[in-house]
C-alpha cells in the first residue's frame, strides 16, 4: 500500500463525467411531463395575462351601465351576457381575475413570510420555543378557516387589503407546521452537524442548510394554498367582506348573481367557472410539483438505505 499522489479510485475513474444539471431544470422537466400540470400552467399563464392586461382585453368598460340591456343572455355582443345593471359579464370576469390572483399571491405571501420563519425557529430550537409557537399556531388552526377570516375581518373591517391580511393569517399555521415538521428531520442530518463543526452559526445553518432542504414541501403547499386563498377570497367577497363594489370580484359577482339565478344564470355561472378554473389550475400545478419534487426525495432515501 504505497501512498499514491494520484487518485486510484478505479470505480470513480470509470464513471463518465456527470453533466451539470440544475435542480430547477430537473424539476421543471418532470413537471412538464405531467399533462394536467401543463394544462394548469397554461390556464395560469392566461390568467396572468388577463390580470395584467384585463382592461385592454375586455370589450367593455368595467362599469358601463346599460340598463336597457340588463339581464341579457350570452350573445355576440355580450359573450357572457349582462348583469342586473346591464354591465358586460365577460369584461367583469376578465378584470376580476386580477383581484383573485392578487389576493392569492399576497395572502399566501403573508402566510409564507410569517409561517416559514415560525416553523424554522420552532423546529430548530425545539423545547419551550417550539411549544409556545406551535401552540399558538394550533389555536389559529383550530378555527375553521373562513370563520377565522370573518372574525379577523370583523376586527379589521371589510375590504380587499384586510381580506388579504385575514387570509394570510388563516394560512400561516399551515406553513408553520409543514416547515417545522421538515426542520425536525433535517436538523438531525449529519450535514447540519457537519456545518456546525465547521463553525457555522445558527442563523447561517438555518438559512443555508436547513431552509433549502425544507423548500420542497413548502413549494407544494404554496401552490395548493394559492387555490385555497382564492376560494377564501371568493367566499369572503360573497359574504360582502372582501372586495367592495363596484370593484369586480368573482365571489362578489356570484353573490350578486344569486338573486337573479332563475332568470340570468350566466351572471353566476361565469364567475363561478373563473374560480373553478383558477383553483383547478393551481391544484394541477401543485400536484405536479409534488410529484416532480418527490422522486428526488425517494432517491436520497434509497441511496441512504444502501449505505446503512
Amino acid at each position: 500500500m504505497s501512498a499514491p499522489d494520484r487518485p486510484l479510485d478505479l470505480h470513480d475513474a470509470g464513471t463518465p463525467p456527470v453533466e451539470h444539471q440544475s435542480r430547477l431544470r430537473e424539476v421543471l422537466g418532470t413537471l412538464v411531463q405531467n399533462r394536467l400540470s401543463v394544462l394548469g400552467l397554461v390556464i395560469l399563464a392566461v390568467l396572468i395575462v388577463l390580470a395584467l392586461f384585463g382592461e385592454a382585453i375586455a370589450p367593455f368598460e368595467l362599469n358601463d351601465i346599460d340598463v336597457v340591456n340588463r339581464l341579457q343572455g350570452p350573445s355576440g355582443d355580450h359573450w357572457f351576457g349582462t348583469d342586473d345593471l346591464g354591465r358586460d359579464v365577460f369584461s367583469r370576469v376578465i378584470i376580476a381575475a386580477r383581484v383573485s390572483l392578487q389576493v392569492g399571491f399576497i395572502a399566501v405571501g403573508i402566510a409564507l413570510a410569517a409561517g416559514v420563519p415560525i416553523g424554522l425557529v420552532a423546529g430548530f430550537y425545539g423545547r419551550g420555543v417550539d411549544s409556545v409557537l406551535m401552540r399558538l399556531m394550533d389555536i389559529l388552526f383550530s378555527f375553521p378557516a373562513v370563520l377565522l377570516a370573518i372574525a379577523i375581518l370583523a376586527v379589521l373591517g371589510p375590504g380587499l387589503r384586510n381580506a388579504m391580511i385575514a387570509i394570510g393569517i388563516v394560512y400561516t399555521p399551515i406553513f408553520a407546521r409543514i416547515t417545522r415538521g421538515s426542520v425536525l428531520s433535517v436538523k438531525q442530518e449529519v450535514y447540519v452537524r457537519a456545518a456546525r463543526s465547521l463553525g457555522a452559526s445558527d442563523a447561517r445553518i438555518l438559512r443555508r442548510h436547513i431552509l433549502p432542504n425544507v423548500l420542497a414541501p413548502i413549494i407544494v403547499q404554496t401552490s395548493l394554498s394559492l387555490a385555497f386563498a382564492i376560494l377564501a377570497e371568493a367566499a369572503l367577497s360573497f359574504l360582502g367582506l372582501g372586495v367592495q363594489p363596484p370593484e369586480p370580484a368573482w365571489g362578489r359577482m356570484l353573490a350578486d348573481g344569486r338573486r337573479f339565478f332563475q332568470d340570468a344564470p350566466w351572471m353566476a355561472i361565469f364567475p363561478g367557472l373563473g374560480i373553478l378554473f383558477t383553483v383547478m389550475a393551481f391544484n394541477f400545478v401543485g400536484d405536479g410539483l409534488r410529484d416532480a419534487l418527490d422522486p428526488k426525495q425517494k432517491s436520497v432515501i434509497e441511496s441512504r438505505g444502501q449505505t446503512t
Binding site: 487518485p7 479510485d9 456527470v18 442530518e189 457537519a194 463543526s197 463553525g199 432517491s299 441511496s303 449505505t307
Partner: protein
Amino acid sequence: MTGAATSGEAVLSVRDLTVRFGTKRGPARVVNGISYDLAAGETLAIVGESGSGKSVSVLSLMKLIPEPPGKIDGEVIFRGRDLVAASEADLQAVRGNHMAMIFQDPMTSLNPVMTIGHQLTEPMEHHLDLSTTDARTRAVDLLELVGIPSAARRLDDYPHQFSGGMRQRVVIAMGLACDPEVLIADEATTALDVTTQAQIVELVQRLQEQLGMAVIWITHDLGVVAGIADRVLVMYAGRIVEEGLVDDLYADPRHPYTLGLLASLPKPGADRPETLFSIPGLPPDPIVLPPGCAFWDRCTYRLDAACRSDVPELRTVAPGHKVATHYDITAESP
C-alpha cells in the same frame, strides 16, 4: 508513522472531561473523566466498541453535542483557552478554522442541495475572509489535494453526482479548508468499502505529513489503528482503560479489554480459526454504571472485591503506557 510525532508540546489538552445526558431514567454517564494530551502532528487513535463514548468525547471537544440534554464538564485546553467554558461565538471561531471534523457517513455529511463548491467555500469565506474568487481557487486546490480528478469542473456538481469514496474526499477537503491544527476523523472510513477505506486512510496520512496537523482518529477497527496511529487510547464505558504507543499497546496489551479486542482480530497468515474470539457480555448501561470497574462482569481475570467496589485509576506500567486495572495483567497471565 509520522516522523514529527510526539515531539512538540500538546496542541490540545483534555482534562477530566465528563459528558452526561439527561434521560427519563436519570443521567446517562457517557464520558466519565477522561484526560489526554494531543501533540502537534501526532495521530491519536481512540478505539472502543459502540457506546464506549468515543464519539461523544470528541464531539464534546468542540461542544457539538446539544446542551441540554447533554452536559459537559472538565477542561479542553486548546490554543491556551478552555473550550468548555468558551462562548458560542468563540467556539464558532475555532470550529472548522483551527479544529475540524470528518464524519462517518459521507452520504449524509454533505448538504444535498448545495454544490460542493459552495459547501467548500462557505467556511473559507467565513473564517479566512476570502473573496468568492479566492475561495473558489482554494477549493479547487483542496479538491486536487484530496485527489478529485478535474476538480475545477466538479466544483459546481452536487453531492449526489459523487460516489461514496469521492464524497468522503470532499468532506476531508472541507475539513482541511482552513488549515486546522487538529483534524478529528469520527469513524471516517467505517461507511466505506475496504478498498476505499485504505485510500482514505492513506490520503489522511499523506495530508498529515504535508500539512503537519494533529489527527484524532476515532474507530473500532484495530486494523486501521495499527496502520495509522502513533498513540492509542482504548475507551470502555466512557473511561480510558489503556493508553500507549501503538507498538507497545499491540505488543504488550495490559488491560483485559484490550486483550479481548486484539484477540478478536483474525490473524493474517494463521490458520483460519473455527470461530473468531468475542468478548462475552455487553457493555454496561451508562445510566446504571457499576460502582467498581465497568468491565468487571466481562473480565476473564476478575480477581477480587476491589474490582467490584473501586474504579481502577489509570496508572503507568511502562514509559508512556498506562492502564486502568487493579492488577498487572499481561498476555501470558492465566
